[in-house]
Symmetry: C2
Subunit: 279 residues, 2 copies
């Protein structure tokens, strides 16, 4: 749709997907959204590890070489500066019905779009509403980034309708999980707290980087916890993170307002250092 978007299917430039495809039919697949800087994916190992976990949960055949082949072709074609790469893996074609064919051959679809925003920009802090649509309870698929994402689509429609920048999404019990496209962290006391993702949600690569790299670099402890919307509203700071935005402070959630973001700004600096190191 974006004129400058380029697409590859199984490593070759393409404009369409062969049918049938189980990714379309059932959401039978996985995806990753990577930030490329001068053609190089940022935090690639985290993306690979999450993908590997998803492939195991969905019992996909091995796709190692097909993915490498695609990443090579995309990197060679990527613009200098920042670009967004979505890599989608589907279980491929097959006969009608839910049952995957025993000889399923996964497909790798890559979509590359330039990013015009300066990589080192501090984002305007976001105004959040609370989405009425909630995450489904599904511990067996929690954390992985599969293609069944209707709740986030509907929550995105809500934030547009509400005039918000993003939406807080809750689980079936009303506890905070995430925003539509990103994981949430609250500064509570002298720690970071982030929703546990044992029954729903996506375990983001930047969430992992906050927990394993950027917060420890600042001497900050991080807990996974059950957090209510009121817990978030009472936090000293609130921010979310994803692969394209990096770290974005939250300025408003319902009636709660925040103006100063010292911890979030310090984490944002760590994020920028990761970008510069091309880690």
């Amino acid at each position: 749709m974006t004129p400058a978007e380029l697409t590859w299917v199984d490593g070759e430039r393409a404009h369409s997907l062969p049918l049938p495809d189980r990714g379309l039919a059932f959401g039978d697949g996985l995806f990753e959204t990577l930030l490329l800087v001068d053609g190089r994916p940022v935090l690639l190992e985290y993306h690979r590890q999450r993908l590997a976990r998803g492939l195991k949960v969905l019992a996909f055949p091995d796709v190692g070489r097909a993915l490498d082949h695609t990443l090579q072709n995309v990197s060679a074609a990527a613009p200098s500066g920042a670009a967004a790469l979505r890599v989608t893996l589907t279980r491929g074609g097959g006969p009608r019905g839910y049952l995957p064919p025993s000889g399923a051959r996964p497909r790798v679809i890559a979509q590359l779009a330039p990013q015009t925003r300066p990589l080192d920009a501090w984002h305007d802090p976001a105004k959040l509403g609370v989405a009425a649509i909630r995450w489904p309870t599904q511990p067996q698929l929690a954390g992985i980034k599969h293609l069944n994402r209707l709740e986030q689509v509907l929550a995105a429609k809500e934030y547009r309708r509400g005039g918000w920048d993003e939406a807080l999404m809750l689980d079936q019990r009303g506890r905070a999980v995430s925003v539509v496209a990103g994981n949430l962290f609250a500064v509570i006391g002298d720690r970071l707290r982030t929703p546990a993702l044992d029954s729903c949600g996506i375990a983001g690569t930047r969430r992992r980087a906050v927990m394993e790299r950027w917060a420890p670099a600042l001497g900050l402890a991080v807990d996974e916890a059950a957090l209510s919307p009121a817990d978030l509203q009472a936090a000293r700071e609130l921010f979310y993170c994803n692969s394209l935005v990096g770290i974005r402070a939250v300025a408003a959630l319902g009636d709660a307002r925040w103006r100063d973001f010292p911890v979030t700004r310090a984490l944002h600096e760590r994020y920028l250092a990761t970008l510069e190191a091309r880690a």
Copy 2:
């Protein structure tokens, strides 16, 4: 994949889907699987009404004419006798990200495959295991036939691995919901009981026909209820139904066995009468 499968995209014969497409990206869409007899869809109004409900839940733009156009083209190309038609509606293309474009233009994908099994055959009663993968809890999307169907894909892998014909799928609390491709009914006392679908599951067109037509024609009352696997095992008869199979008795569920199916056979006769009437 099946050599004789024919595909249409937006009413025109095609072999591929233009990219990007939100159906592939997020499962942002719906589908129906229709039985065609001599090119005419069986119980079309039930399919249309479920689709209409799904379109409303997903807040899709109107697709009425595009769907009619596709059904006309498919009917004209359909073989005599039985065929399976899958109609998939996606929210179409759009820029990267969960947020649907405000001017989204849905796509209609139709896939037609011949059915070789005689329409009036009584199916070999099915052996069922119990799937380890469970339905997600999601009351806001329960009943509609959207494209987020990973649980059923994984449950289908389980019934193949287990050597079963189908698998009983449970909800997050361990109650019976359905089989992978079909709704369940149990004969308990002098009534039919079928799992309530208020937190998950698909409200099948043949489930509706059992409840509104075929059971009433036999003077049988039907309840929607919470049913445990043990409730099912203690039932006098058990069967499932879907658009292509019609009605299929269950011969085994775990340790429980059934050999006589007087009620299921009587309902099957009602089903055959519906086919003959081309209703």
